[in-house]
Symmetry: C2
């Protein structure tokens, strides 16, 4: 959709031509208050699963309703997945925003030997809001999925055999010399603030995960994660 | 220096063998309270200008003093410089931290046609503290320099002719297909939240700045900046 359509919102619905969608409070606020759209104006809507629709703002009261006119749908050709150890403090919040902007498909917090996620640090509703804001900001058609925390080994097992598996490691192969997968899934593991143990690293190597270095210096958890995401997202 | 030396601090001094350095309050706190070093322990010290010294904690009172034993010095082979338009809110604070961790050499806030830096958003002391924390975190030997804000045109002019000049642009050449300069200076321009004007883009092209895209989607100012930094920092 052209940038000339100012309102671009995510909806938690199937979108199909002819449907009348009632916007939730957040999307309604964005369309009516931020973008100042009026009845009759064109609005762009994404379902975050590859569909982007052009619609018409049909009414504002008692609820904001968009009538879908046309839908354009595409599939992901490449999916980036991050299994992320616990960073310090609230640093995961901005990481979620950055992963979402860079088009990463899924992120899962993983408990590691040297760092478990504190229950209070797991804030799925806040993370979801950040991901939705990012999809609207970047006018993207895919919403970052945020999964429940799991133990590292279980999370890695649940991914099956990715096309490319990486683990961030200052001693690893240089990222600048590595060919990125432009199709299929890339799964990256980033350790917690205190790092992965030698046993965890060995277990990942046995499963085919390649140690990769994203910088000449030691990076914090969330910095290694965003460096991986930028590497993964770079257009070729 | 081996990771086995727990205390690694930045000092705003020349470091030379035989010198006795008095640590400032922040470095003293890090060495004594965070790393729990005692008199006689080995301490690593960087001047942030390429020098890293091994020293001995000589005394704790009335001030914390490190006697420098050996100094290892190296020069940068490649320098990354960012001229950065104003992002939204306080987003530059974490960008400073990420640029510092990724080893970027200098950053300069630039006023653009669609976005000037509000005086209250320019916080050089806070940014310096974040950069110092990052150099200590990543055990690096180069401190991120943070320059005073300038108008875009003046800032670009002051850089002379970089070996590689880039401007972040969603319509630009794909970053994944671009060869990074492993020597000399790379200067990147990232526009403010509302973007660069066509005139600003044309002026940069005339000066040889290449438009480069760092993602398939639209990125916020600080996301484009960190994506550039990650691209620039990736070891080859």
């Amino acid at each position: 959709l052209p940038d000339a359509v100012p309102a671009f919102v995510w909806v938690d619905h199937e979108i199909a031509p002819g449907a009348a969608l009632t916007l939730d409070a957040s999307a309604a606020h964005h369309v009516v208050r931020v973008c100042r759209a009026r009845v009759g104006d064109t609005v762009a809507v994404t379902d975050g699963r590859g569909g982007v629709a052009r619609g018409r703002l049909a009414r504002l009261t008692p609820a904001v309703v968009v009538e879908i006119q046309t839908v354009d749908r595409s599939e992901r050709t490449a999916t980036g997945v991050l299994l992320c150890g616990a960073p310090e403090g609230q640093r995961f919040d901005w990481l979620v925003e950055k992963l979402a902007e860079l088009g990463v498909g899924r992120v899962r917090p993983v408990h590691c030997a040297r760092g478990a996620w504190a229950p209070a640090a797991v804030r799925p509703e806040r993370w979801r809001r950040l991901a939705v804001a990012a999809i609207e900001q970047s006018r993207s058609r895919f919403l970052l999925e945020i999964e429940s925390p799991a133990d590292l080994e279980d999370a890695v097992g649940a991914e099956g055999a990715p096309k490319l598996g990486l683990v961030a490691d200052p001693e690893g192969a240089p990222a600048g010399g590595l060919v990125r997968q432009t199709g299929g899934s890339t799964v990256a593991v980033v350790g917690p603030a205190a790092g992965l143990t030698p046993e965890e690293k060995a277990g990942l190597r046995e499963r085919g995960f390649l140690p990769v270095s994203f910088s000449g210096s030691r990076l914090r958890t969330e910095t290694a994660a965003v460096a991986w995401a930028a590497w993964w997202a770079a257009p070729v």
